[in-house]
């Protein structure tokens, strides 16, 4: 019975998705106003997957035997595909490295706070302070300090993710049942072994929601960083398109973002569910 429920729920989701797509199409036909000649405010699917996608060629720098539009070549599907792929890779790469660096740093400092009284004094207060700084307000500062291509964006994403993971880790460590720690100590675990074999697995169920939360923040952070001065990436395309009121291109990139974030949530959800095979089902969802 349960499998049939899951099956039915999936069909309902697909139906909702198709209905939304259809509503969008109807809207595009009813509301035909244009931001400028040839640029509809609401682009129907037939425009998005032809003209709009082709227009992505404009963002191709040239290479792989496909010349850039800026060098006089005509728009083409290969150029459009390469443009979307290369800018996506830039954005996703920044996010992935920022996620790794920020996640590791947040986890490390979070564990350090509960390691001993001295490390708590050392890290807790300054990091709590750092947490309160508004994320997006820091973008210009990061770009002036670390540049606008790679380091600045990556460090900014790492910062945005790191503060969330730090707070989540401190909270999760605080909630580790004392009995596991007592038991491990009386069985002879050193402090390092305790941290590795007890604290880390014990906080994982709580960290799962923190990781998903920080993933969302990571996508916002990388997009925010690209809005404000990057020379590549999906955020850069949106800013560029906005300057010329290319609404369809902005919508196309937004759709791409939805696809990417959905895949990233799904992948991390699956991966962490596998690592939580030991936990009761309620903690794995």
């Amino acid at each position: 019975m349960i499998t049939s429920h899951v099956h039915r729920d999936r069909w309902i989701s697909v139906a909702v998705f198709l209905t939304l797509a259809a509503i969008w199409q109807v809207l595009s036909m009813v509301y035909t106003a244009e931001a400028q000649p040839g640029e509809p405010m609401i682009a129907g699917w037939q425009v998005l997957f032809t003209n709009t996608f082709l227009a992505m060629s404009d963002y191709w720098q040239g290479g792989f035997g496909v010349p850039a539009v800026a060098d006089g070549a005509a728009r083409s599907y290969p150029a459009a595909f390469l443009a979307v792929a290369s800018h996506s890779i830039d954005t996703i790469g920044r996010l992935a490295i920022g996620l790794a660096v920020g996640g590791a740093a947040g986890l490390l400092f979070g564990l350090a706070v509960s390691w001993s009284r001295w490390t708590r004094r050392l890290f807790d207060w300054p990091l709590q302070f750092l947490r309160t700084l508004p994320l997006l307000a820091m973008v210009p500062l990061f770009q002036l300090w670390f540049g606008t291509y790679f380091l600045g964006e990556v460090l900014f994403v790492a910062y945005g993710i790191g503060v969330i993971v730090f707070a989540g880790t401190v909270n999760a460590v605080r909630n580790v049942p004392q009995i596991y720690i007592d038991n491990a100590r009386s069985l002879g675990a050193s402090r390092w072994t305790l941290c590795r074999t007890i604290v880390l697995p014990a906080i994982f169920p709580a960290m799962r929601s923190t990781i998903l939360l920080s993933l969302g923040a990571g996508w916002s952070a990388v997009l925010g960083a690209e809005y404000l001065g990057a020379q590549s990436g999906l955020g850069y395309i949106i800013v560029y398109a906005q300057q010329f009121a290319y609404l369809d291109r902005m919508f196309f990139i937004a759709l791409l973002f939805i696809v990417y974030t959905s895949i990233s949530y799904w992948a991390i959800g699956r991966l962490s569910a596998r690592w939580l095979a030991w936990a009761p089902p309620s903690q794995r969802r």
Binding site: I179, Y180, D182, N183, A184, R185, S186, L187, G188, A189, S190, T193, T197, I198, P201, A202, F204, A277, W278, A279, P280
Partner: protein, 275 residues
Amino acid sequence: MNSAANSRMIEIVHVNRTFQRADGQMVKAVDNVSVVIKEGEFVCLVGPSGCGKTTLLQMVAGLLEPSDGGIAVAGREISGPGRERGMVFQKDSVFPWMRVIDNVEYGLKCRGVPAAQRREIARTYLERVGLGHVEKAWPRELSGGMLKRVAIATVFANGSRVLLLDEPFGALDYVTRHQLQSVLLDLWDEGGAAARRTVLFVTHDVDEALSLADRILVFHSGHLVDDLAVTAERPRSTDSLLLPDMVAIKHKLLAHLGLEKRAKPLAIVQDGAAS
């Protein structure tokens, strides 16, 4: 280790422990307790809840520090937990993120025992507690009684000379409790009388204390108020509890717990009657 040090396995000397309550008032959980426990003795700590028996056990385990006084195990003053003192807790302490066999191996792994050797030891003890068939299971798949068996196998596999058990079977049903008592006694007696481990067993169940213990220490309001030898032969059965000596001890215990009228006023035992 010489035999004199061995015979005095646990020495508790003028131990005090005070707690500060939330309202700021100081409470003496353990009040000037002194007792010596010999190697191989099975000692039950009995008393009404809040009498300090669990606090004392946690101090012997090294999980709590005495406010005053000292505790020595095998002739050495303890500081912090140590693997020569294995603890079985009242609540479930089995690590849910490790499979059953990895739980049993945990202490051995902490000491760096080679993988093949520790697996063999862990298997042996899992078999002994009757869980050979679930070594690869996750703890969440086990019942409360099975989890207790895992906890017992874990401390025995770790080779502790002193076992500290804090109301380990308190939350179990009657049948499971009796099964686990005999599992514990079998393991305790596995190498014969000479190889017995020293056991401190906290319980509030008078019959449990009578059927397990060589000696029963009775606590009341942080004081050690009685020290009773239980000399009935092992293995003990339901009938053993009906022997005149046993019935006499049971009456004393019930009086201490306030369930029967006292024959004489309560006296505090000083410096351990058996030493």
